[in-house]
């Protein structure tokens, strides 16, 4: 009777304490701005099933994925035991005990206790022996405390069963507990007393865990599934919209972020997967996506939600370091959205006119001339001069393909050769195409990601007007950044365009037999997936098909497809200086290609990549050994009567 009363008091105290510790977060989220994430419940649920049930992203790292799955499954099985422990303690008349004695359940509890301890052992092994770099900056004591609690809970559970076996209970279906029972017998432990002791250790450890959770990264036990459920279902390539009601374009206070952005912070498990894939972090820049989230989270938990964020909680240099490559978000197992936070805070910096000198030059050039280089817009189509044939002016006559060329492809001498090659391929395939000449502006993709919302609109609107004044069937571009802007950003301004990347169009032309390739003799090449082509827009296969069709043996780097490693140019980084960079992401990537052995051609599908990797190859002194080529440059058109026909 005294035991029941004590347990009741303990349970009520623990629940009250937990509620008390969690109250601030509940109030915070209830107060926050709406996020519009309640649509498509079935799609949302199925995403949760895949993410939680199948551990899909968790398993991108096999060891942690498996150990987490082991702990996760064991937790649910052992939860039955927890119900049994508390049920029988709180309601003595209500005997659930017989359930526990069912052979299957007894065996399950026994086996999964062992599995839980195995998972725990693996976790300890990973954290303290393997010490992956991604844990750098995560709270060590938080993890250690949880390990001890889990060990106490499961250990006490097994020992409690062992103590019952000592007293004559059936141990046939509890092999592990039976083994422990022998141990207890060997040390002449008094059975009934031991059972009580272990029961209370078990119960108290569980309640301690419960009370501990609201202040720990283990909040994710409750928040991961909701955070995944409320994930962004919109296009990956759309920057967060600026609501009309907002006074300033950017955000600088935690309580100005919508509830999903705040829920993200509370959900972070500090696993550091984002940090391990971040090109800015790898380059030695002061940005770790994990610390960005945990620093903002710590400001929330400390109640500093009304303080200025930028320059206080998050340094300016941290915000400008991001290449917006989206690797962090692709990797996060609980669907935390790092980029919207960075973009919102960059908007705040732009509002205040705080930009680095390089970025200021580029943005001023874009404001004045519509391109980041500061070149006259009349020179945008200069590359066509050296082309044998005139290029149609899509403003004056209808075309099948409207080619949105983009800044680097138009102006940069290193890329102009690629641009001309694409024009030659299209001509050879009989494609009717035209360009916008000086009516084209920078697409604004990276301008928007640099937080320059107003300039983005000033660039996008003339592009939309110019495009809508033309007659065409589809838009093509060689520039994944332009592709992303036209496909995913311009709809926010009311324009929907059908746009393809040149690799997609060329692959179509090859498949249709319109572009006839004379295959080369099969050198080894590797291919770099551009962030805005692959991760953002899901184009992984067309470039690979083309490379094979051109007659080359493709060897992917370890970080390929959606795990591709950014060249370091995106999100406005290409306009900023390399100050503070210890290893350029582009050089890191070239070294990765080198590690494949005898790769002579590094294949790209993005004008910025051509620029970045050509520079990286030169900087590493590999100019004679490795060529950086766009896929179009690999293709040789078959000459001869059948091609001419």
């Amino acid at each position: 009777m005294a035991g029941t009363l004590a347990l009741w008091l303990l349970v009520l105290a623990a629940i009250t304490a937990t509620g008390w510790r969690a109250r601030r977060y509940v109030a915070l989220l209830a107060r926050a701005r709406g996020a519009g994430r309640f649509d498509h419940p079935l799609q949302r649920l199925s995403g949760v099933a895949v993410a939680v049930g199948l551990h899909r992203r968790m398993l991108r790292r096999p060891l942690s994925g498996i150990l987490h799955a082991t702990i996760f499954i064991s937790f649910f099985v052992l939860f039955l035991t927890t119900i049994e422990s508390f049920g029988s303690g709180l309601f003595p008349g209500l005997a659930i005990a017989p359930v526990g004695d069912h052979p299957v359940i007894a065996l399950a509890q026994d086996v999964f206790s062992l599995l839980m301890l195995t998972g725990l052992g693996l976790a300890v092994y990973q954290r303290y022996v393997l010490k992956p770099a991604r844990f750098k900056g995560s709270s060590a004591s938080d993890a250690a405390f949880i390990y001890v609690l889990i060990f106490l809970i499961v250990g006490a559970l097994l020992l409690e069963a062992a103590a019952r076996i000592v007293q004559g209970a059936n141990g046939d279906w509890r092999p592990v507990a039976s083994l422990l029972a022998r141990l207890l017998l060997a040390v002449h432990a008094p059975g009934p007393a031991m059972e009580q002791v272990f029961y209370w250790i078990h119960v108290c450890a569980i309640l301690a865990f419960l009370v501990y959770i609201p202040g720990s990264k283990h909040r994710h036990m409750f928040l991961a599934a909701p955070n995944i459920y409320f994930r962004n279902l919109g296009p990956r390539g759309a920057a967060p919209p600026v609501p009309e009601s907002r006074e300033n374009t950017g955000l600088d206070r935690l309580d100005d972020f919508d509830w999903k952005q705040q829920l993200d912070l509370l959900t972070c498990t500090e696993c550091g997967r984002c940090q391990s894939v971040c090109p800015a972090y790898a380059a030695g820049l002061p940005l770790s996506p994990k610390l960005l989230i945990t620093d903002m989270r710590d400001a929330i938990t400390a109640g500093r939600t009304r303080e200025p964020l930028v320059g206080n909680v998050i340094a300016e240099a941290t915000l400008w370091a991001c290449t917006t490559c989206r690797a962090c978000m692709e990797e996060c197992p609980v669907e935390i959205e790092h980029l919207p936070k960075i973009i919102e805070m960059r908007r705040h910096l732009i509002d205040n006119g705080s930009v680095s000198p390089g970025l200021q030059d580029a943005l001023s050039n874009l404001t004045r001339l519509g391109n980041s280089m500061g070149k006259p817009s009349k020179m945008r189509a200069r590359w066509t001069k050296e082309l044998g044939v005139p290029v149609k002016d899509a403003r004056n006559e209808p075309v099948d393909i409207l080619w949105f060329v983009g800044d680097y492809a138009s102006y940069d001498p290193r890329v102009q050769a690629v641009t001309r090659k694409v024009a030659e391929l299209l001509t050879a395939a009989g494609v009717d195409f035209g360009i916008l000449f000086d009516a084209e502006r920078n697409s604004g993709n990276d301008v928007r990601r640099a937080g320059e919302e107003g300039l983005f609109q000033s660039l996008a609107q003339p592009n939309i007007d110019a495009i809508q004044a033309c007659t065409f069937n589809r838009i093509m571009t060689t520039d994944p950044h332009s592709l992303n802007a036209l496909k995913n950003e311009y709809p926010s301004l009311g324009a929907a365009f059908d746009i393809v990347h040149h690799t997609t169009l060329l692959a179509e032309l090859v498949a249709a037999g319109k572009l006839q390739i004379a295959p080369a003799d099969g050198g080894r090449v590797t291919y770099h997936d551009p962030c805005y082509l692959g991760r953002y827009n899901g184009v992984f296969d067309a470039p690979r098909d083309l490379i094979r069709a051109a007659g080359y043996a493709l060897h992917d780097m370890p970080r390929c497809r959606d795990k591709s490693f950014c060249c370091g140019a995106g999100g406005g980084r290409i306009w900023q200086s390399d100050e503070g960079v210890t290893e350029r992401p582009s050089e890191n990537r070239i070294r990765e290609a080198l590690s494949l052995g005898d790769i002579e051609r590094f294949i790209v599908a993005c004008p910025k990549d051509k620029v970045m990797y050509t520079a990286a190859v030169d900087a590493l002194g590999l100019a004679g050994k490795m060529q950086v080529l766009d896929i179009a440059e690999l293709i040789t058109v078959r000459a001869g009567p059948e091609a001419a026909a």
């Binding site: 374009t249 732009i350 006119g353 009349k378 001498p413």
Partner: protein, 254 residues
């Protein structure tokens, strides 16, 4: 306090500058125009003084793209904008515009006239002394820092050999700014879009206050000397040629 700041539009030096058919002006058809860099600093200095003292800033812009630059000036903090209709296609000569600037300065009861120390079309920095002379106000050029007290300015001016001079100048005065106290600020696209609504007044060019002393007879690219070699526009070819020059002159080992 009232400040008048002068903004001159200059052909973008990155464009291809060619004399036109008449040979006394550059061909403007393919040119982009941008704000004279020194005038950009003058504008920044004006806005900084406004922020420190609450002064009223009037910006007057001359040349192609004046409206766009005036919107930018308004977004940065100018209170009033005037576009000066200059002769189309001509150079912005300090002799020709000084009288108009002086008249606007009187009209706006300016205490300070700020403009860039020089421009591509005023390389000898004559606008400041001309305007100063017409108004009979003190003037000083090549300033690096201007701070304002009630009826005077403290102005620093860089000289050679690492020497900087500091002057106190009585107001009203005409100042030729070389660098503003802070680098010109970035103005966001959203602010620019807001400033697009700023009303822009117009002013017409008055007759020059000076008698014609000389006449422009020819405009041409600098004559090519025989002591230098032009490496051309193509980076690759220029690099090859440079390497050849290094090799020929024994700068390369092996």
């Amino acid at each position: 306090m009232n400040i008048l700041v002068i903004l001159r539009m200059m052909p973008d030096a990155a464009s291809e500058l060619q004399p036109n058919e008449g040979g006394i002006a550059i061909d403007r058809e393919w040119l982009d125009f941008q704000l004279n860099d020194f005038d950009d600093h003058a504008l920044e200095e004006a806005v900084l003084i406004k922020e420190a003292t609450g002064a009223h800033v009037t910006a007057i812009a001359i040349g192609e793209g004046a409206n766009r630059v005036l919107q930018m000036a308004a977004a940065r903090g100018a209170d009033e904008a005037i576009a000066l209709d200059a002769e189309e296609g001509g150079l912005i000569s300090p002799r020709d515009i000084a009288a108009t600037i002086a008249a606007v300065a009187r009209d706006k009861a300016a205490d300070i006239v700020l403009c860039g120390v020089q421009s591509g079309e005023d390389v000898f920095g004559q606008l400041v002394p001309y305007v100063g002379a017409l108004l009979d106000w003190p003037h000083i050029s090549g300033t690096g820092r201007v701070t304002s007290a009630r009826d005077k300015l403290t102005v620093s001016q860089e000289r050679g050999a690492g020497v900087a001079l500091t002057y106190e100048v009585a107001l009203p005065a005409v100042i030729g700014v070389q660098t503003a106290s802070k680098a010109p600020r970035y103005v966001s696209g959203s602010k620019l879009r807001e400033a697009a609504k700023t009303p822009i007044a117009r002013a017409t060019l008055q007759p020059s206050a000076f008698e014609r002393a000389a006449m422009l007879v020819k405009l041409s690219p600098p004559a090519r000397g025989s002591t230098g070699e032009m490496l051309g526009d193509d980076a690759g070819q220029a690099a090859d040629r440079l390497m050849a020059v290094f090799a020929a002159n024994g700068f390369l080992k092996g």
